[in-house]
Amino acid sequence: MLKILKYTLFDLLRSRWSYLYFAFYLVFTAALLFLSGDVSKVVVSLMNVILILSPLIATMFGVMYYYNSRDFIELLLAQPLRRTHIFWGQYLGVALSLSVSLLLGIGIPFTFYGIFHAAGLGHFLTLLMDGIILSFIFSGIAFLIALRHENKIKGFGLAILMWLFFAVIYDGLVLMLLIWFRDYPLEATSLGLALFNPIDLSRILILLQLDISALMGYTGAVFQKFLGSQMGMLLSFGALLLWLLFPAWGIRQSALAKDF
């Protein structure tokens, strides 16, 4: 598995798209830091971009890479290798290369800014971790979708739809639900609903870091209990980790069952 991972990783790290992705984050973060010296402000601005962009790019990369390397996968399948290792190796390679782009793209400007001696280190690390986890989750789901659909158009469409669902539509549905049933106590429900969307989870994790917890706690006791304590942090982080496992498990199941 490690060999396949290594091969995929180096293959992708040489690709021009990885550089472009890296360069985008580099320029964007540097510009933000240059324009406003306040770390927490920069983190909020970056958050909006990372929460949308890193899942989108991960989705596209995942699907594209799978379809492009189909011939290579078929070649590998003829070798005495375990199937799960082949697919996991490729998936992790894609996710890692994206994470490296993100890590360096955001990390380099912040390092030059002197984040390791600044007050907002915690915010920055949470943001980075969120971005990386989201890259892993969404490239995994994209891989899974591609694996299950031979038809490229269908695969692409589904992957984009999946991204759109989590990034935009889901929040709209939640909002509609909250407004429809506003006569009922919905605190626990709204928090519970957030657990089912990795993008929402990451957003809440960052907002908790940014002291907005008090603002959210204003709404009621359940929020206060959840957001004001370490429990909220741990629970949302745990849910994110579960989200990480889901595509890996799905890839394994599909890979084992698939007939090439």
Binding site: D171, L175, L178, I179, L186, D200, A214, G220
Partner: protein, 410 residues
């Protein structure tokens, strides 16, 4: 005329001659403060040298000055009040009050001023009292440069650092108040001034007005209180140049206005409060040159607020600038700076060419369903806000700034 002046000077000289200084210390002829006060006559000075004096309740009913040297400690033994002033023209300075009594039935205070005029309480320290300084039915007094520190934990079982009830023309200046229920509490207190105080870490309010008219407070700092300042049922209060900082929590306001009329709020800074100003039934109020920065909600306006006029204020990077829960109102916003403003200024006159609507769709939604705060800063909400901004449907059209500034005023 000359003669009269001469007479007056002579009188002064005679009086000065009569005033004597009674020194209290461990090795002096008089070792007890109580005894010294008994011996003193109007105009005398009781000078207390450093040391610990455990004498229980002391009553001052003469026009004397009590002056501590190197902060002598008056220890109340935890039973009763320590010092009660029941005379006009009394000065108390340089004392330290410890172990005043606590009671849930009586409002015990370390230092009580009762029916006194022209009193002055300055440069004292009060530790862990139930009420720190309690002024009742008094006037023309000054309370300045005192430190009143407490360790209150529950609102219901704690008192206020400075508490005034039925008073007139007080000056409360440059005190440090921390760890009580309210830093300063004024009830039926008129024509008074509260300035340069630092009130922080109090359970309820940093400063609290009830039924008090024609007062002003300025240049104070209110930090980390349950809520910075509450002004309730009062008229003609002038609030200027105060700092309301980090009154942050589940129900924390920088400034709470409830049933107040004809106030001026100018030059204040509201930073990092959950709600900058919360208004309920606030009428005829001018807001000028205030800064609202990094608050959760800069202004939350609920029912019955009429004739509030906001001009030349700065609204910078608040999560939500404005929440209004009624459509019908005649409050105006004119010439403020909004960091959220996305308009343009083609004619270069310093004000934006399109009006700014500070109420976002999301604040409207939050009003309908508070739980939707979990969607704060999500992409979908940004989209909604944007489309609402372009064509307002839900948010009140009238709440808008016709000439938003392009540059901050402060």
């Amino acid at each position: 005329m000359k003669r009269r002046t001469l007479c007056f000077l002579l009188l002064c000289w005679v009086m000065a001659l009569q005033a004597k200084i009674i020194v209290v210390c461990a090795s002096c002829p008089i070792q007890s403060v109580k005894q010294a006060i008994e011996q003193a006559q109007d105009g005398d000075v009781v000078r207390i040298e450093s040391g610990v004096y455990r004498e229980g309740l002391l009553l001052v009913d003469k026009k004397i000055s009590i002056s501590g040297h190197n902060f002598p400690v008056l220890d109340g033994g935890g039973k009763d009040e320590i010092l009660i002033i029941h005379a006009d023209s009394v000065l108390v300075e340089g004392l330290e009050f410890r172990n005043a009594g606590r009671s849930n039935l009586k409002d015990l205070a370390a230092l009580r001023i009762r029916r006194s005029r022209h009193f002055c309480i300055r440069n004292n320290r009060i530790f862990d009292a139930y009420f720190g300084i309690y002024v009742e039915r008094s006037a023309q007094g000054c309370i300045s440069d005192n430190q009143v520190l407490g360790k209150s934990e529950k609102e219901a079982t704690s008192g206020n650092a400075i508490h005034a009830w039925y008073a007139d023309s007080l000056e409360i200046v440059n005190n440090y108040l921390s760890g009580y229920r309210d830093g300063i509490y004024l009830e039926f207190v008129n024509h008074s001034q509260v300035a340069d105080n630092l009130s922080e870490g109090n359970l309820r309010y940093g400063l609290h007005f009830m039924f008090s008219n024609d007062d002003e407070y300025g240049c104070n700092t209110f930090r980390d209180n349950g809520a910075g300042v509450a002004v309730m049922f009062s008229k003609r209060i002038f609030m200027f140049d105060n700092l309301f900082d980090h009154n942050w929590g589940t129900a924390a306001y920088g400034l709470l206005l409830k049933e107040i009329y004809d106030a001026h709020i100018a030059g204040n800074r509201f930073t990092q409060n959950t709600i900058g100003i919360f208004l309920e039934g606030a009428t005829r109020i001018e807001y000028r040159h205030n800064l609202f920065k990094n608050n959760g909600w800069a202004i939350q306006m609920t029912g019955g607020c009429l004739d509030n006029h906001f001009s030349a204020n700065d609204f910078e990077t608040n999560t939500l600038d404005m929440v209004v829960n009624s459509r019908v109102n005649n409050n105006t916003f004119n010439g403020n700076y909004w960091s959220e403003y996305a308009g343009y200024d083609l004619d270069r006159d310093g004000t934006g060419d399109v009006p700014h609507r500070p109420v976002k769709l999301f604040s409207y939604i939050l009003n309908q369903s508070p739980e939707s705060i979990v969607l704060l800063r999500s992409f979908f909400i940004d989209l909604l806000n944007y489309s609402e901004k372009i064509s307002p449907v839900f948010t009140p059209q009238e709440v808008s700034d016709q000439s938003p500034l392009m540059q901050s005023v402060l």
